[in-house]
């Protein structure tokens, strides 16, 4: 069934105007996360019981720091998009919805940036 108005269809607009960009970003980050997650699980297993010195050595080897930065960025972007969708579906009050959407974006940005900074700090030996 066609859910869009004729004018909306002519203009190439969906009901949310920019909904496709969000949908697409969710797919792109999802595809990126397939190999990155598998790499992360193998890495995390190898780091069971590691101390900071061992973690530092691991982070400095074979592009691990780069992969960890990519993983963290893709992960927080994807997580934030997913929780955004869940909030839109289940939080109905307009104020509560906007407030929780903004909170999710801020928390994701804060934790993502904190992770990247920590990776840089540990790998550059600060």
């Amino acid at each position: 069934m066609e859910m869009r108005s004729d004018l909306g269809r002519v203009r190439g607009l969906g009901s949310a105007k920019e909904g496709a960009a969000q949908w697409w970003a969710q797919r792109i980050t999802g595809v990126a996360l397939v190999p990155l997650c598998l790499w992360f699980v193998v890495s995390a297993i190898s780091l069971v019981g590691a101390d900071l010195a061992a973690f530092k050595t691991w982070l400095g080897a074979h592009g691990n720091a780069l992969l960890m930065v990519l993983f963290v960025i893709a992960l927080f972007h994807h997580a934030q998009l997913g929780v955004h969708e869940v909030i839109e579906d289940y939080v109905h009050g307009e104020k509560a919805k906007v407030a929780s959407l903004v909170a999710v974006k801020f928390v994701a940005a804060l934790f993502g940036a904190s992770c990247v900074l920590a990776i840089l700090r540990v790998s550059f030996g600060g």
């Binding site: 069934m1 066609e2 859910m3 108005s5 797919r27 999802g30 595809v31 996360l33 397939v34 997650c37 598998l38 699980v41 297993i45 190898s46 069971v48 019981g49 590691a50 101390d51 900071l52 010195a53 973690f55 530092k56 960890m68 963290v72 992960l75 927080f76 997580a79 934030q80 997913g82 929780v83 869940v86 928390v107 994701a108 934790f111 993502g112 904190s114 992770c115 900074l117 920590a118 990776i119 700090r121 540990v122 600060g126």
Partner: protein
């Protein structure tokens, strides 16, 4: 467009539970769990920037029974969400909508997620035992 013509969401009280709907809900639940897990990852990585004692405390927490329980749940969530995510991508490409295929891929994804979770934990215990 008449509002009365729109498709309606299934009414949960009269909706017969089935593998398709159950796995769809599980995809969301594991997704939300993994978002919380991402915060735990943030705590773990950030602790490394604060020095050896802070990192050791984070490692000890993750190795505690509570930490292990949480990580076990996150491991299954990760593998399930990852594999079912690939199932979603196949749907996006227009493949796999037939009822038979839908059920088969659903069971395949669930069984593979359970198997990978167990393999990961056997490997983790092997590493912990060898250390």
């Amino acid at each position: 467009m008449k509002a009365g013509n729109r498709p309606l969401s299934p009414h949960l009280q009269v909706y017969r539970p089935q593998i398709t709907s159950f796995l769809s809900i599980l995809h969301r639940l594991t997704g939300v769990a993994l978002a919380a897990g991402a915060l735990l990852l943030g705590y773990w990585l950030t602790s490394a920037a604060y020095g050896p004692e802070t990192f050791a405390r984070a490692q000890d927490f993750l190795a505690s029974w509570l930490g292990r329980l949480v990580l076990f749940g996150l491991t299954f969530s990760l593998f399930y969400h990852l594999l079912n995510g690939i199932r979603h991508l196949a749907w996006d490409a227009g493949w796999g909508f037939e009822m038979g295929t839908l059920k088969a891929t659903g069971w395949l994804v669930t069984a593979t997620a359970v198997a990978l979770t167990l393999i990961a934990w056997i490997a983790a215990y092997a590493v912990a035992g060898g250390a």
